[in-house]
Symmetry: C2
Subunit: 345 residues, 2 copies
């Protein structure tokens, strides 16, 4: 169904207040979850609120946890997230990275012991909207086979990079799997094949049949061996820099998705070596040339990453946000102070 | 043919001296080109020496160019490479990034107006071998269609990340195309299909026929839209941070591969927030678990990125390095003070 953004956010906020979040936390989380859905990332927007409620109930997310500064060195800081709310922990660290970049040109914040940050791109978008180049990544529990293996052995460890462009931020938010499990379900329920092969079936054949991949649990790393290699490297780097858990530590704890994970936030001042007007003009020139590349299908012009999201956001804000009926029902129930029973989506 | 490493390096060094490089430059470049071949990256090792000679001859590489500090801010520095030798410019900047990281925890060096750095992974390997986490990338001229386009419109902009592990560095060195053009040629000449689709044929069909992709020039971004998005973002970020050329500026100049390009070098102190012994033990634990993931084929155990390179290096150093016959002939000719005529490989 379609729900106006303000109603979506207000309902989510009530749900979060009922889960024990403070006024400020609830306001922030409601805004981020509603905004992710408005941007078209429903899987990590409103859809995640029931699971967040479940995690709070199980004690996997501690709504009283706050990021604590553990150590600092020059342009870098290390925080313990105390299993607090993933969104507010990560936003805090993104802000700190920008403060450090303001002084040092580049700033790095390494957050350990935090929880699911929901839509990965949130923080790179925020950094770009604040005028900095943002790079961030996370390690997750294992959900994807390493290249050459047939069992899940590495996280899909999303990597994000964002460039502040006043005419529209350029943002990449990419998991290391070709498709998320959520996406496989969407195609299967619609009776459709995937646009491109997304994993292996039980016989080890590359397939575009979403159900066969859900059965085998052998989702495909993006770019085959490349996504697998980058995924394990991002895991190791996040755990090393933050002095936090690596993916296999999370597997051993088995406390749900991303509980106790490590996250890295890097902000870079894009104007420290060039004039802002020159840099912005270069960005606009490059994006315009990329977008004018000859399209395969004239009805689908080439777009740089982030541009379609901005169009989608505008549409959602004026016409309402698409929300899955069952999710909306659950969020409304939480807003009414009810607890969810049965399987959490 | 197989050539002992020392002979390979000595011959390359003579060739570089004949091209006008200083003793120190020739020593460094010979070591890097020979080492890349020893590591199995022949395409960007010995194979590139004839093209380097061509670029020096055309004035696209200025052997007298040296990196010049343009501006600095805190943990970040900006250099103009003055179209000097790509390898020595990049090594200098990687060293500077580590010096900055020593003081500030993280260091960033943005290099503009430089030339082809040959094997991208060289600098991340170097940073990891020196005990830092390394991240580096470059923008190149357009050689790959953006996703949704059928004409080359973005570079394959290699991205590298390396983690220092005393039991073997973990290094990812990935171009944003699924296969390099050089690799397509290797498969075509061997009469083989690619292991996985690597581009589109002239009719727009995804294909594993290397010759069909060479004809269409529609190489595939790794992970389809993902590699395309990351490629344009890396281009914009490199040009913005370094205040240098973006990919389309290089296209307009049309001075060969990577001439005038922008490069980013980031070094991070991996032990600033944790004890070195704890971090190394976590890395070893995680890598061991990844490597023990159940293999599809027991003869091909899972390996983390970099591990196979180290095995290959050991073998090359003890048994000799594989070099293409024609390339070896050309490098020997350059070492004898001859000039190359005809088509440069």
């Amino acid at each position: 169904m379609i729900v106006p953004f303000d109603k979506l956010k207000a309902t989510a906020k009530k749900a979060f207040l009922n889960l024990g979040l403070s006024e400020e936390q609830a306001e922030t989380c409601a805004h981020i979850h509603a905004s992710s859905s408005a941007d078209g990332v429903e899987s990590h927007g409103m859809n995640r609120i029931p699971r967040f409620a479940e995690y709070v109930g199980k004690g996997w997310v501690n709504v009283n946890g706050r990021p604590e500064l553990i150590r600092a060195k020059g342009a870098a800081e290390n925080y313990d997230g105390h299993l607090g709310i993933g969104i507010t922990n990560a936003l805090f660290c993104a802000e700190r990275a920008m403060k450090l970049a303001e002084v040092h040109g580049i700033g790095l914040v390494a957050l350990k012991n935090t929880t699911h940050w929901m839509r990965g791109g949130t923080y790179a978008w925020k950094i770009a909207e604040s005028g900095y180049i943002g790079i961030s990544w996370i390690n997750t529990e294992s959900c994807m086979p390493m290249w050459g293996s047939d069992e899940k052995s590495v996280g899909n460890n999303p990597f994000c990079i964002a460039i502040p462009r006043e005419d529209g931020q350029i943002v990449v938010d990419m998991a290391m799997s070709q498709y998320a499990y959520g996406k496989l379900g969407v195609y299967r329920l619609a009776g459709k094949k995937l646009p491109y092969p997304g994993g292996f079936d039980k016989d080890g054949k590359l397939t575009d049949d979403p159900g066969a991949i859900e059965d085998s649990m052998r989702i495909l790393p993006t770019g085959y061996w490349k996504g697998s290699s980058l995924a394990i490297a991002l895991d190791l780097a996040a755990a090393a820099i933050s002095n936090g858990l690596c993916g296999s530590d999370m597997d051993a704890n088995n406390n749900g998705s991303c509980t106790g994970c490590s996250q890295i936030f890097i902000a870079i001042d894009p104007y420290m070596f060039g004039e802002k007007s020159d840099i912005q003009s270069m960005l606009n020139r490059r994006v315009a040339i990329a977008d004018s590349a000859h399209p395969i299908d004239p009805k689908h012009p080439v777009k740089c990453p982030g541009e379609s999201t901005i169009s989608r956001r505008k549409k959602s804000l004026s016409e309402g946000v698409n929300v899955d009926d069952s999710i909306w029902e659950q969020v409304c129930a939480l807003a009414d102070g009810k607890t969810l029973s049965g399987r959490i989506e």
